[in-house]
Subunit: 626 residues, 2 copies
């Protein structure tokens, strides 16, 4: 089945990419853009930067020590997307492989001499994930044979001993290759790599052993820590090993790490990582909006982890966090034109970025860049969108479960349905049966959706759900009158059982009123602020020409007002006051800042859409009056 | 004259180290500790780490590419302190010099191949500063000849062309060598290095050209930016060049950069630098207490810059910032035993550091370390304390000016005085004439000291000033009754003219009541907090075993109460309330944090003394109630 994660057991069974066909809508549009624009864009840049040339032996070798992995992630994206350029690029990779299976353009002459920073096993991990994608979308070919040969080489070299890689990734890849081939040594290697980490397995580095999760064995750690992408990839591998080996203790360890990290180390957007210096989580409640790192890759890795935990447990909390991260990190990470990307995703930008359409040597978060010196994010975005369908729904023992509401045709658990919705702009979701069938249909009601209702009945009720605008006043009654049953749907999965006939419609009505959200008092960096959310979307104030000047504004906590923005986007307006001019001298004084008095208003846009109109200032968390 | 900075013109003339003899007291004790303990400590570690062995050709070479500079800073410290180990260590350095004057243990085989990161000219800068120290304390010898030879080599190689060093430092060293020798090419090279920077002179790096101030010519920049130590060293060189060449435009440029950086990019402690990733300033008003980098070296560099601007202009603002930085960064940077050091100086520590008495591979700020992989701070501290006397007083055209009040005997401008004071614990300062003389005596009244008075009259009045405790109630009247004249002394320099007789005493009475200080509203990271200062000292709450738990406390803005701490230290107590338990789940909710109710109190200690009792949590900025 065409799906990047296929556990042999668990509460939920994933559906193949063929079984979830996205239609035009929030996610369908982005998946199409990815296939039509982003994949080719990444391909061009990798060629231009010489990272593909490295496989052809062009000298001098170009790119960082891990640049091979970008080609592999692109191949994975091409495989899931059925992209025509796959075969040629894959052949270039295959030709670079050495006789014993070794494959790395950076370390060929000095194999395995730098486990802390060399990224060799990390690169194999991405190679193997590309191989699994090819196996599951196409079947065996020269590329998948090369991948198997590389995997066997790695098994021979690393099955025994104490070594591992500074960057986790191989663990989950090896488990997936085991799932795709049934060859148990791949699982066994993953298990061993996991167990030897933290004994410790790596040498000292200036960022400390927690940077690459080598401070503690994975099953002893109580939270996610260190480099965020490394931590999350390792946790993915741990879930995969736990599922395949029935290791409940390991599964519990990862679940409690997730729980603690989500409660104390996660930004409102779902973004993870608060430190630039080590691309790391930082400490509990260290959640600065301006220096939030919230790397796009860490958001993707978080979605990967939540997805695995959701499949294993069926618990809605994992789908809730995945949705938050999909809408507010993944969708933010790429521009509306599919050709430029955020590496870090701060929640506040004080100074507009310098305009540039060239390569970004750093990771600054104020302007989407077409490419980066370390360009892990574009190819990670590409492979995630290319396999996005696999995240949206699953089968449970009783029927079909839909996690994420977006226009699509979904087939699974004996049901075939069309989802029709303007979500996240409107809260109505219609699920129309496309064929007669029998079984439970479960729809996720997000944690914020107190007051949701579910109705089920004849087809015409679905017309309401297609409306782009929020439900008008009284619409709920209208739904009720035209459907057989309407009942409250509390957050979680709301299930409707039935003998279905083609045309039957289940309607979910999610309340979409904008809401003010406040931080825990322990988040020092957010004291005295609040943010606005609407549905699954975090909103932000964006100021393109410093008009209004965001530095001087405080918001009043009155209900935000909705406005129709471009392309059906819902924008919001809040009341605000402008602070008086502060001193131009020493910024600390014996006099507290005085209350501001000049009333004004402030337009808020969905966070994922900010930064599409050129350099701007931005803030998610607004200082509040009083 | 024995003094690290001897401009040929300016509002003030510095005094030699012989002219400012420190007596036991806040600074005198620390200078003695530096001479007796810290210099030898640094010497031992440099030997142990192999950085001195590099000069003896021991292989493999050890330490970072700039480790030579540590030996030079230690030599400078030894020269100013008249330390007996100078000669042997200097000889080791001299022997490593190549025939044409080149001297660098890292780049000998590949000279001048990496201007961005190589630090070769930076290392020469420190070598030359050590040479100037030796010239001014001892006169010519083999070491100073080697230094001249190196300087001449550098002049030959770099007088023409467009190259400069990624790390400024050589500029001010060359100006000082010019001042010490009169050889104009040294000044000319400094001028050229300064002018070619920002054209740009260096290649692209991932941290951006502003990191090493190569984004703009120094005279076009409007603020200090990028790597804080680099920025401040460059500004020191610019002031030195401006003074020696009469370049008023350049001087004005640096003054306005200083002014803007102090108003927007400086922590309450005087610490500079808000970012770990590039050890950099960050943006205006980006002043996070927890991630404040505030490198000890940047504090020292800021003192160096303020000192230069003070000498050039005579304006008290530079002395005010220098005092703040001396007490709250320099004094903080070294432990009370003189053997361990802070690299970064955050204003908040949430999680106690792991105890360790080994080398610190990173720069984390929770625990003073005996040594670092990048150990720039200990040797910088050593050379600064060894020359501290030069910062305390100066001669102006009318007489003697005392910037910093600490027990000492000072001779200058025809006056010879003893300063007697318990400052900063008490606010009384007595300046006793040790000889008959004539001239103006100017004493600095810090900006915070509204309500200060100055009195002058017979000797017995000085007895009051020697008291360690704050002046008791009515003391001011007592001073008035026993002196000829008492008058208000507004912040700035308060001047007393006179025909002095030995035994005459001038008494300054600075009000030392603790005061609450509030941040500018634009400092997002400090919203809703206040700090306590007393005299020149910033205070902090320190919690050794998380008792009280600082995360849950809010302070009431009632007047802090003074307590006698150990060694005459004044500690403070403020009223506080404990917040209720927050949720253990998602840290953002629709309910604002509720007001806390449980009253308690909170002990505050001077910030420079925190972290001497083992790992602890700490915060300068306290959340306030209401």
């Amino acid at each position: 089945m065409a799906n990047p994660v296929l556990p042999s057991s668990g509460a939920l069974s994933p559906l193949g990419l063929d079984a979830v066909r996205l239609a035009p809508g929030f996610w369908g549009d982005r998946v199409a853009l990815n296939r039509e624009v982003t994949i080719a864009h990444a391909h061009e840049w990798m060629e231009r930067e010489g990272w593909i040339g490295n496989f052809r032996g062009e000298l001098p070798r170009r790119g960082r020590e891990f640049s091979d992995s970008e080609i592999y992630k692109l191949l994975e994206a091409m495989a899931w997307a059925g992209h025509p350029d796959f075969a040629e690029l894959a052949l270039t990779v295959v030709k670079a492989q050495e006789g014993d299976g070794y494959l790395n353009t950076r370390w060929s002459g000095s194999r395995y001499t730098d486990f802390e920073w060399g990224h060799e096993l990390y690169c194999y991990g991405h190679l193997i994930q590309a191989g699994v994608a090819r196996l599951r979308t196409h079947g065996q070919d020269a590329f998948t044979e090369a991948v198997r040969k590389a995997a066997d080489h790695v098994c021979r070299r690393f099955m025994d001993g104490t070594e591992t890689c500074g960057h986790p990734e191989l663990e989950m890849a090896m488990v997936e290759l085991y799932r795709a081939t049934g060859v148990e040594r791949y699982l066994e290697l993953a298990r061993r790599l996991l167990e030897r980490r933290g004994l410790p397995a790596l040498g000292p580095i200036h960022l400390g052993a927690a940077y690459f999760q080598d401070d503690l064995p994975v099953r002893q750690a109580t939270t996610l820590r260190g480099h965020a992408v490394r931590a999350l990839y390792l946790a993915c591998g741990a879930v995969d090993v736990a599922v395949e080996t029935g290791d409940d203790q390991l599964m519990e360890a990862v679940r409690s790490q997730w729980e603690r990290a989500v409660a104390r180390r996660t930004h409102l957007t779902g973004g993870m990582g608060s430190r630039h210096a080590d691309e790391g989580f930082g400490e509990d409640f260290e959640l600065p909006p301006d220096r939030a790192y919230a790397e796009t890759c860490a958001g993707i890795a978080s979605i990967m982890l939540s997805h695995r935990l959701l499949l294993a447990t069926g618990e809605v909390v994992y789908a809730d966090l995945a949705e938050r991260t999909l809408f507010n990190v993944l969708a933010t990470g790429v521009a509306l034109d599919g050709r430029s990307f955020f590496y870090s995703n701060p929640l506040q930008v004080r100074v507009p970025a310098e305009p540039s359409d060239g390569i970004n040597l750093g990771h600054s978060g104020g302007l989407r860049s077409p490419w980066f010196a370390v360009s892990c994010c574009p190819s990670n975005i590409a492979r995630t969108f290319a396999s996005l369908g696999s995240y949206l729904a699953a089968a449970d023992p009783s029927g079909l479960r839909i996690h994420h509401h977006t226009p699509a045709v979904i087939e699974g658990a004996g049901l075939r349905v069309a989802v029709e919705t303007g979500y996240p702009w409107s809260g109505g979701v219609g699920v129309r049966m496309l064929a007669d069938g029998r079984g439970r249909l479960s729809l996720r009601v997000p944690a914020w959706a107190e007051g949701a209702t579910v109705g089920y009945g004849p087809a015409q009720a679905a017309d309401l759900a297609r409306r782009e605008a929020p439900f008008p006043a009284g619409a709920r009654d209208e739904v009720a009158a035209r459907t057989r049953i309407v009942r409250d749907a509390t957050p979680g999965y709301t299930a409707v059982e039935g003998e279905w006939r083609a045309g039957d419609v289940v309607t979910l009505d999610l309340p979409m009123a904008p809401r003010w959200t406040f931080p825990d008092r322990r988040v020092d960096a957010l004291r005295g602020t609040a943010a606005v959310e609407r549905g699954p979307l975090v909103y932000c104030a964006e100021s393109v020409a410093d008009e209004p000047p965001l530095a001087g504004l405080s918001a009043r906590l009155t209900p935000p007002v909705e406005h129709a923005g471009p392309s059906g986007v819902v924008e919001l307006e809040v009341e605000a006051v402008l602070g008086e001019e502060e001193s131009a001298g020493w910024p600390y004084s014996s006099r507290p800042a005085q209350p501001a008095t000049t009333g004004t208003s402030l337009r808020l846009v969905p966070y994922h859409r900010w930064g599409n109109a050129g350099p701007a200032t931005m803030r998610v968390w607004l200082p509040t009056t009083g």
